[in-house]
Amino acid sequence: MAGGDRRFILHFDWTLFIVVLALAGIGLVSVISASYTSAHRTLDPLVIRQLIWIGAGIVAMLIAVLVDYRTLQAYAYPFYVLVIGLLIAVMISGHATGGSRRWINLGAFHLEPSELAKLAVVLVMVRYLREEPPKGGWGLRHLIIPFILLGIPAALVLKQPDLGTGLILVLITLTLIFVSGLNLRTMLVLAMAAMLAAPLSWHYLKPYQRQRLVSFINPQADPLGSGYHIIQSEIAIGAGGPFGKGFLKGTQARLNFLPEQSTDFIFAVFAEEFGLAGALLLLTLYAGVIARGAWIARHARDRFGALLAVGLTAIVFWQVAVNIGMATGMLPVVGITLPLVSYGGSSLIAMMAAMGILISINTRRYLF
């Protein structure tokens, strides 16, 4: 790090840093709204915890900035193995809530290895794909190893069951394969295979997951059951109107009509109270992360850094797209957090660390 300190401060990515803090701030405001009840007007313990996670997240982000991202190449596989181990541990002795085992009880903290799995898969994919593809791009046979690297954590995550994280793992892998130079004919073959596999996968879905798909196509089929989430979320967002009902004035969340209001449906809480204006501000902040991520990728010093930036940006993007798509009724309900905004320590700290790595890539493009 010798001689790098001045440059480090000079080239620190303040834009991204501030955007991330703004998103975390919106998250905090939304968690306050989601946990607010007119009965007791004190701050909910949830809010205090979220504040602590944000603090820890900032620390994690700064540590990630200080670490040279290139060292991560060495740790990609060990980290991957560690996360696989954690996912197996979850399966064996995980802490179950709401019918699925997702957490490991660490006393003060419930660790959710699925959140780490996203980072691990990005790291290990980028580590593998950093090699230049042969002329014409990656063919099917080059993808065997990436698919195995994806398949192991994806299977473990789906087993929990956590369809949302499984989906994100698949999407970021495909994104990285595409960007790193996928053969276009292979892409077509993959697309066709996916289309053929879709009906088959119905067979492997759990009944509640099938129910969600049915509800997505026709929410009114079971308005109090699985369609309830979609309907209540749409109502909350729509009731917000152009400028929202105002902070703590949203009734859908305060009166608990919204399910999972501090985590998966936090967007609806925010959109009800801050309206289209607030929602567009939020989307703009995410667009900022994406634009910045893409810029960092394009200007990275090396292929590893570029792909890592793409992968980290892809995590943010896909989670935003799936989460908001679900909250607005454009996609079926799958449990996925809104990055940097949803309540939850594992998600928040992992995501802020990812943003730190992104800043680190940006900061170090001048280092040579």
Partner: protein
């Protein structure tokens, strides 16, 4: 640095650039799509979603107004409302609904809870809105529910005002009962809602609009679990107006007591204005059991009871009037001029007419008698002659003038007008001409003649009042919330006939002697301080061809073949203030079965309303205190 992968150029990723650009474009396109969706939800469909959100959180809770009270003529309460415990169930809060229902039915004895829930759902019950599944729980049931609360998720107790009939079965048919509105009611009446109480029968039904009041309401904010958080808006209810009836509680109690254990009907009227003073129909029912959700078993029991406890015999029971009809013959004959007090006929115990003999109840005959004795001794042959001379159509005409064969106009549902035959009636009904011999049966109140107890009470009242027939009314006035009279019901004269006062006096004298004179058939109605006038009657029960008897001796026929016993009366003879009719089904003779009922009621009446002293008694009193 050598261990790191070193790119060749300063811009290491030219190959990646187009794909990163493409990816970025896709990402922005998706965010754009999301923005469009947000615009659609938050701007284009903002209003609908606001409504949906409000409908989510705001429940309109109707608060039915407390129903008006019912008082007797002296403002003593007969019907009021008292708090009752109802069990409510929020089906959504019960994870095993059928088990909860099973337990609830066991602890409360309620039935058809599942049906009530599905009915409510059909009516569009919002989620988490409770359904009232068992009403008017007794203490034991309430305690059972409290004790087993943990086994009954979603069940709660609710205190609601419930209709309470203070004297149980007293005047049940007149007061009627309330119940929950039916689906049919809801279709017809826009301002009623599911679960509302509505008058179903009797006064409760007819005065529904006064008694009901205007429901208030609350806008209540609820959370997703249906918990009530706060009242957003409140519209106070307007309680129902009270009804002050014409009946006298004490007299009604006396009548109920006199009728105890007997099937039949009793009604007492004030001949001066048509006020119903007491009305009894037995067997009766307990109106309290209808209060919201009568149990199916109790309802079945009531509707299948061969004694028809739900029928108001006073206005719905039709019986041949028997010899009480002879008063009608008398008025008809006197008015038509075919009869006068001196008209005499010979009764040898029967009358040959149209080739067969028509018996008098007294086989040995009454000899030659005039009108007074014919009424007192109820000679059939005498009235065969009176009837034959009048002809059926003139009997019918005066029957109608006396209120028979037509509805009295009392404000109760399902009044039966009875039947008064005439030649035109027979032609229309049977397409047959009238045979003069049939008139003889009509003359003694048999054959086609059918009347209600109320109609016969009106005959007594019309004689008592000297020819004025008032519409029977049982509501004196509606009392507004301020305690003032909101609506009163002045006497309504239905008909007025001019009877020659001397002729009327002859009828009254004869009726007085029925009760008080030698050879009279109703000595059991005699009162010491008041001259009671009356006429007995015996209505033949179909299937019993034994001659209709008129005596005070007990009949030995088995009960179900015994005749119905009639007695109609008024008192005092001069300036009458009460008139009544009583029928005891299968009671045998009017004199032995019905006269005692009227005796008891009249006795009570004159205790409550002391008559002016009789002239004789006044004289005795003067004699007893000459020094004064």
């Amino acid at each position: 640095m050598a261990k790191f992968h070193i790119p060749k150029s300063n811009r290491p990723v030219p190959l990646l650039e187009p794909r990163i650009a493409a990816l970025t474009a896709v990402m922005f396109a998706v965010l754009g799509l999301v923005s469009v969706r947000l615009y659609y939800l938050q701007v284009l469909h903002h209003k609908e979603n606001v409504e949906l959100a409000d409908r989510n959180r705001i429940r309109i809770q109707r608060l039915p107004a407390p129903r008006g009270l019912v008082f007797d003529r002296n403002h003593r309460p007969l019907v009021d409302t008292k708090p009752s415990f109802d069990a409510q169930l929020v089906p959504e809060d019960s994870d095993n609904l059928s088990l909860t229902i099973e337990r609830l039915e066991r602890y409360t004895g309620a039935d058809q809870i599942a049906g009530k829930i599905s009915d409510a759902d059909e009516e569009g019950r919002p989620p988490y809105e409770p359904v009232t599944v068992a009403e008017r729980l007794g203490w034991q049931q309430v305690v059972a529910l409290e004790a087993h609360q943990l086994e009954l998720p979603g069940v709660s107790l609710q205190i609601t005002p419930a209709r309470h009939y203070l004297y149980g079965q007293l005047a049940a048919h007149l007061l009627g009962y309330v119940g929950e509105v039916t689906k049919n009611d809801l279709i017809q009446k826009a301002d009623y809602h599911m679960g509302d109480e509505i008058g179903k029968f009797g006064l409760e039904r007819v005065w529904e609009s006064s008694l009901r009041g205007d429901a208030g309401g609350q806008e209540i904010e609820v959370d997703a679990v249906g918990r009530r958080l706060r009242v957003l808006k409140e519209i106070p209810d307007k309680p129902g107006e009270s009804i002050v009836m014409t009946i006298d509680l004490n007299l009604q109690q006396a009548a109920e007591q006199a009728m105890a254990g007997k099937n039949g009907a009793f009604v007492a009227l004030d001949p001066r204005n048509g006020d119903v003073l007491a009305m009894v129909s037995h067997p009766a029912f307990d109106p309290d059991i209808f209060g919201g959700g009568v149990k199916a078993s109790a309802w079945r029991e009531l509707t299948t009871d061969p004694n028809h406890p739900l029928q108001n015999r006073v206005i719905q029971g039709i019986y041949p009037p028997g010899s009480t009809f002879k008063i009608v013959d008398t008025i008809a004959g006197l008015q038509e001029g075919t009869l006068n007090p001196e008209t005499a006929y010979n009764c040898p115990g029967g009358l040959w007419f149209g080739g067969r003999e028509y018996h008098c109840w007294r086989h040995q005959g009454h000899g030659t008698i005039e009108l007074h004795d014919a009424i007192v001794r109820s000679c059939d042959v005498y009235f065969y002659n009176v009837g034959a001379k009048l002809g059926v159509d003139r009997i019918a005409k005066w029957s109608n003038q006396l209120g028979l064969g037509i509805k009295s106009g009392i404000d109760l549902d399902h009044e039966n007008p009875g039947t008064i035959p005439s030649s035109a009636w027979k032609q229309k009904r049977f397409h047959e001409r009238w045979y003069p011999a049939e008139t003889l049966s009509v003359a003694i109140g048999q054959g086609y003649v059918a009347t209600t107890p109320l109609q016969m009470a009106q005959v007594a009242a019309q004689v008592a009042s000297g020819g004025i027939r008032y519409r029977p009314q049982f509501v004196k006035y509606v009392e507004g919330l301020d305690g003032n009279i909101a609506k009163s019901y002045p006497p309504v004269i239905e008909n007025r006939i001019k009877i020659d006062p001397d002729a009327l006096e002859v009828v009254k004298d004869a009726m007085a002697d029925v009760v008080n004179g030698a050879g009279g058939t109703a000595h059991k109605a005699h009162l010491d301080n008041v001259v009671v006038c009356g006429k007995t009657g015996t209505a033949q029960v179909v299937g019993n061809n034994a001659p209709v008897g008129e005596s005070e001796e007990e009949d030995k026929t088995p009960d179900q073949f015994k005749d119905h016993a009639w007695f109609i009366a008024f008192a005092p003879k001069d300036h009458p203030t009460i008139a009544a009719a009583c029928i005891i089904e299968h009671g045998g003779h009017g004199g032995s079965a019905s006269a005692p009922v009227i005796h008891d009621v009249f006795q009570r009446y004159f205790q409550l309303n002391p008559p002016p002293p009789k002239p004789e008694i006044a004289r005795v009193l003067e004699d007893a205190s000459p020094s004064q």
